[in-house]
Every structure is written in structure tokens, then in C-alpha cells.
Amino acid sequence: MEVFFQQLVNGLSLGGIYALIALGYTMVYGIIELINFAHGDVYTLGTFFTLAVLTALGVSGELHGLPLIGVILLAVIVSMLLCGIVGVLIERLAYRRLRNAPRLAPLITAIGMSFILENVMQLWKGPSPVPLPDFFPNPALDVGGVSISAKSILVICLALVMMVSLQLFISKTKIGKAMRATAQDRDAAQLMGININTTIAMTFLIGSALAGAAGFVSGVYYGTTWFFNGFEAGLKAFTAAVLGGIGNIPGAMLGGFVIGLVEAIATQYIPGGQQWSNVIVFSVLVLVLIFRPAGLLGEALPEKV
């Protein structure tokens, strides 16, 4: 039984990272119905920004107390801010002028942006895996034989905090209201005096900043990164967003955790399960979509005319 709970911890930690990335996918899709394939690479960029902050601060060994909190805050904020800016730039340079183009054009552009980011990162940090300094002390909490490491707690808590604040932001603030209005009907929102460009840029800023936060926790959790990191993580996070109901924020979160858990449990309980873990994840996706085509928490909306 301990093993089962241990796998729950593993699955939730992995799922937390997927969930943070999935939030960005789902926000962008919700507002402009674009699958932003460059999003996974913005996440990788977040790991590199974290690395750059740690290098600039000269962090090399384990930190404690105030310096630890200071470094965490600085790394999270810088990584989120820079990723947010990158996201806004991508929207401004690549997607905005295609907003009224046929759907396929922005989709292909997104794939192109993904390639550009990957290659820029390869030029910047080289094509091999890059280690991050291991500054985060990792005492494990022992709960009845299940060890919950401080890093796992960090990942899960950060993911939950981010989701709750995002949900509050969207439901309680004026900008959030503008986002919801734009998502519902862009033209009508514009007629009501909402600045569409600012609202969409804001969506990219927040979504990409969340990818930056995911990049930070993944850098701490795995202690390593490389330029191609975002490909698989992005694919899984996208799957998580679809599983939870794309466009739905708690859904993206739920989807991320479900995928992380399914992967961990499949690895544990199926003989030779590791190689089947992806097959099982995607089978779950197919099954859910058969019975709930809009995803776990998604609402079936009538097609917009």
C-alpha cells in the first residue's frame, strides 16, 4: 500500500507540472481558439531563465532560510516575467496579424514558432542536457512509509496556488471579465468597448508566465533541462487540457493531475508498464472523449456562428 501512495506522490508531482503548462494552453485556446504549439517551448525557456538567474546569483550549493526564500522568489518572478514577455511578443509578432486568417494559418505559424524557440535555445545553451545547481534542500516527510519530498510539495502547492489565483483573477477582476467577454464573442466584446488587443495580449502574458512558473519548478524538481524538453511535456500538457475540457481552467488542472497519476500507476502495476504508460494515457483520453466529447469538466457549447 505504501508503494501505491508513493506512486500517488510521484504522479501528482509530475501532474502538477503538466497542469501548470496546460493552464496556458487552455487560456489561449479559450480566448482565440488557437492551439499554441510554441507553449511547451516557452516552458523550456522558463527552465533556462531559472538557470540564468541561479548562475547570475552565483548559487552553487544548498541554501537555507532567508537566502533560500529570496532565491526562490527572484527565480520564479524573473522566469515568469521573461516568459510572459516572450509570450506577448510571440502573439504580437506572429499571431495577431493572422487573427482573421483561416484557422490553419495560425496553427502552422505556432508550429513554426516552436521550431524557432527550440533552435534559439539550442544555440544559446547547446544541444546537450544542462544541469541546474541543486540549491533546494530536499528533506523528505515520512508519512507511514511514504516519503514526500520537499520538492514534490513545492510542485503540487505551486500548481494549486497558481490555479486558484488564476481562477479568482478571471472571475473577480475587470481584466478577467474582459477576457471572459472576449472568449464568448469577440465582436460583441469590442462593441462594448473592450480593447481586444490588450485583452488577448494579457492572456498570452498570464499563460506564458504560468509556463515560466512550470519551468522553474521543473528545474528544481529534476535539476536538469535541455532545449527539447518542451516537446514531450507540451504534448502531455496539451492532452491534459483536452482531457479536462479545453478552455476550462479547473479542467486543465484536473487533466494534468489525472495524466500524471495514470502514468505513475500504469508504470507500477502493469508488468513492463513503463513502455505502455503513454499508450494508457492516450487510451484514457480516447475513452473520456468518447463519453464526454467536451472533456471531463468542459461544457458542450453550441458551435459559434
Binding site: 508503494v3 509530475l14 544541444p127 529534476y222 527539447f228 511535456a233 505513475a264 513503463q274
Partner: protein, 414 residues
């Protein structure tokens, strides 16, 4: 209007191109065909970018050194020997489709008489049918999967000419590497192993042999799992392994297919103190940088002798250091030996052809007939399958970020 403009531009470009083509031979003063005939090329196919570069570059350097040595002593008379190096890594890792494409490039260039490479077994699997079809001899320094040369698997690769072998290697095979690894592990007292491989030709092949031999030597195999391509999270897998209580984790695969990250993440699990064992796929500097502090307490085998221990290799080691200003890699000396064999075969073919450009078939025949050929790694000959008759395996251990030579085993007759 637009279309017409484009048409005008296109035709102008065509005219210019035609002019350029017709003036080039004139300005050089020699016919293009004679110009081409002065060069003999050896194609080199290795992964030289991405995580694999840590293995690919030192291997490529070994072959390049042999080629520049041959040019220095004017081995080919009027012909100049050139290397044609291509990269088979795509998105940071070796790629069979890219390797196959590279071999097609070599085949279409009539001045390429032989090729060196590839580095990885799954790439070789994609390349052998093409080289077999074209009759282009290839020698590899490090591809250890037995199915490339032996038995039914090898026959299936020789599609166009089932009775002709074009693939040779100067390293021994994984049926040897895996069983030597297993017997070392048992000798050191490890009893319970958990095996992980990357599900590639090389990694799975090696892990399967290790599993069979570890059992045969009286050990227990607790489990054998295969990774998925691109996987970066191994925590669930390690929890599963931990629950079984292994005293050894064996990894079949390379550093970039998961070998480095798996070892690193063992540090965050209950398997922190458990020994790690692998094959030549993790015998590179990237493994140590990827695994970080966890690289320590890792054993790996290499399908090559330790050149530092061989009197015949000392001159090569010095020359390599002088040429590239670094120490040799695990397969540099093997690469040098493989290129030497190809150069000697071309030289012999030139002589018997009266100094005229030899054919690929003549070069292939000479390579296949190699017996007792002196190289820095000892005397090499090829058996009917194209495998070396002198297979030496060595064992290394990483302690505090440095790999140290432990022991070596010489193939006894088989």
C-alpha cells in the same frame, strides 16, 4: 503583372545559371571529370551534434587522424584522400532515417570508395541495406548489436545481395559485452538486479543478454522495464524498482536516451546508494555532467581495449593529443584502426589496378580479406560475418566524476 515579373526573373536566373555552368570548366582549364578523379573519399557518418556529440566527435577525430596520416605519407600517389563527414543526429540525438539519407549521399558520389560509421546500432540497421545494395563497404567502431552481422537478423538486412556482406566492425558484440558485464557484476557480489533499457536496437539487445547471463550466473532479475522515447521523468519507475529491493540497477542504452537522467533521479529516490551498471552507451563525458554528483559508483563496459594499457597504442595517443589537444575518447583508437583498414584496402586496390581509380567492389574484397592487420588496438582480422577476430572488452568505474579503468577481458576463440 506579378506572374509575368516572376517569369522574367526566373528566365533571367536560368540564363545566368547556364552561363555560369558553361564558363566554369573553361576558367579552370581542366575538364571537370579529370578534376573529380583526383580525389578519393571516405564517407564518415556519426552523430556529431546534440548529446551524442560527446561520443561522436572523439570517434570522428580518430578516423580523421588516420586520413590525414595517409595523406601525409602520400599513400595514394596522385590521388588525394578526403573525408566526407556527415552528421546523423537530428534534434540532439542519433536518427536512423538521417543515417540512411547520409549513406545515400555517399552512394551517389562515385569518389566515395568506403565509409566509416555509424556509431549506433539502430542507425546501422537502417544503413546496411543501402550499403549492401550499392556494394559500398562500411566499417564501424562501436556498433555492438549482434544482429547486425550474425544469424537470421543479419541476413534480413542484406536485402539486395543476401550473400554479400558490406558491414564490418572492429568492436566486439553485445552478446559478449552483456555477458562480460553480467559476470563482472556477479563477481563483485551483486545478487538482485533491476534492468532498464531504452527499447532501441542497441539498448534492448544489451539488456536482454545481461538479463540472461546474470540469471545463468546465479543472480536474480527483479524486473526489466523499457523506457519510452523522449522520457524525462523516471520517478515512478524508480519507486517501482525500489519496492523490489535491488542491489544493482542495470541500464541498456545511451546517455541521451535516458541513461544520464535515470542515474540523476536515483539521487532523489530511495535508490541513492545503489550501484549503477551500463554498457558503452554511457561511456562519455555527457553522462558525468548529466548525472552530476550521482555519476559516482557507476560501472560500465566498453567494447574496446583501454588504449592506455596497450604499448601499440602509445604513438596514437600522443599524436591524437597533439592534433586535437584533448584526451582520446572511448572509441577514438577503434575509429583510427577502422579507417586504417579502409585506407590499406584502397591502397591495395590502387596498386592492383595499375594506379587507376579502383572500384568499390575491389575495395570491399580487400576489406573482407583483412587478416592480422596491425593497428594501435592490436592485430585485427574479419571473420565471414564481418566481425573482428580480436574482441577485447574493458570495464571502467566512475568515482568522484572520473572514470577509472578496472579490468579487461580478451575474447577467447569464440
Amino acid at each position: 503583372m506579378h506572374a509575368r515579373n516572376a517569369l522574367v526573373r526566373l528566365s533571367a536566373a536560368l540564363v545566368l545559371g547556364a552561363l555560369a555552368a558553361s564558363t566554369t570548366p573553361l576558367s579552370l582549364g581542366t575538364p571537370a571529370s579529370a578534376q573529380g578523379a583526383q580525389v578519393i573519399k571516405i564517407g564518415i557518418d556519426l552523430p556529431v551534434s546534440g548529446g551524442d556529440a560527446a561520443q561522436g566527435i572523439p570517434t570522428q577525430n580518430g578516423a580523421l587522424l588516420a586520413i590525414s596520416d595517409a595523406n601525409a605519407r602520400h599513400a595514394f600517389g596522385p590521388f588525394k584522400l578526403e573525408a566526407d563527414p556527415l552528421d546523423d543526429a537530428v534534434a540532439g540525438a542519433h536518427d536512423p532515417a538521417q543515417g540512411a539519407q547520409n549513406v545515400k549521399t555517399f552512394v551517389s558520389d562515385s569518389s566515395v570508395l568506403a565509409m566509416f560509421g555509424p556509431f549506433n546500432s539502430n542507425v546501422a540497421k537502417a544503413e546496411i541495406p543501402i550499403s549492401n545494395d550499392a556494394g559500398l563497404a562500411m566499417i564501424a567502431a562501436s556498433t555492438t548489436n549482434p544482429g547486425l552481422t550474425k544469424g537470421e537478423d543479419a541476413k534480413k538486412l542484406r536485402i539486395s545481395h543476401p550473400d554479400v556482406n558490406t558491414f564490418f566492425r572492429v568492436c566486439t558484440t553485445d552478446d559478449r559485452q552483456g555477458s562480460v558485464g553480467a559476470s563482472f557484476a556477479r563477481k563483485f557480489g551483486y545478487k538482485k538486479v533491476f534492468i532498464v533499457d531504452d527499447n532501441e536496437t542497441y539498448g534492448k539487445g544489451l539488456a536482454d543478454v545481461f538479463e540472461a547471463d546474470f540469471k545463468k550466473d546465479g543472480g536474480t532479475v527483479l524486473g526489466h522495464e523499457h523506457l519510452t522515447k523522449g522520457q524525462t521523468d523516471f520517478k515512478a519507475l524508480l519507486t517501482k524498482a525500489e519496492g523490489l529491493g535491488p542491489d544493482l540497477i542495470f541500464f541498456g542504452g545511451t546517455t541521451v536516451t535516458g541513461g544520464g537522467l535515470l542515474r540523476k533521479q536515483m539521487g532523489d529516490s530511495g535508490l541513492k546508494g545503489v550501484t549503477y551498471f551500463g554498457g558503452d552507451g554511457i561511456s562519455d563525458a555527457t553522462f558525468i555532467t548529466t548525472a552530476g554528483a550521482m555519476a559516482t559508483n557507476t560501472y560500465y563496459t566498453v567494447a574496446a581495449p583501454n588504449p592506455a594499457k596497450l604499448p601499440s597504442a602509445q604513438a596514437f595517443i600522443t599524436a591524437y593529443k597533439k592534433a586535437y589537444n584533448t584526451d582520446i575518447g572511448a572509441y577514438s583508437a577503434n575509429a583510427y584502426a577502422a579507417a586504417m583498414i579502409e585506407i590499406a584496402a584502397i591502397e591495395k586496390a590502387l596498386k592492383s589496378n595499375g594506379g587507376k581509380m579502383p572500384t568499390r567492389a575491389e575495395v570491399l574484397k580487400n576489406i573482407a580479406a583483412t587478416k592480422n592487420f596491425e593497428t594501435p588496438i592490436g592485430k585485427i582480422g574479419f571473420d565471414a560475418n564481418g566481425d573482428t577476430t580480436a574482441g577485447i572488452l574493458s570495464l571502467y568505474k566512475i568515482t568522484n566524476g572520473k572514470a577509472e579503468f578496472i579490468d579487461q577481458v580478451t575474447e577467447g576463440g569464440s
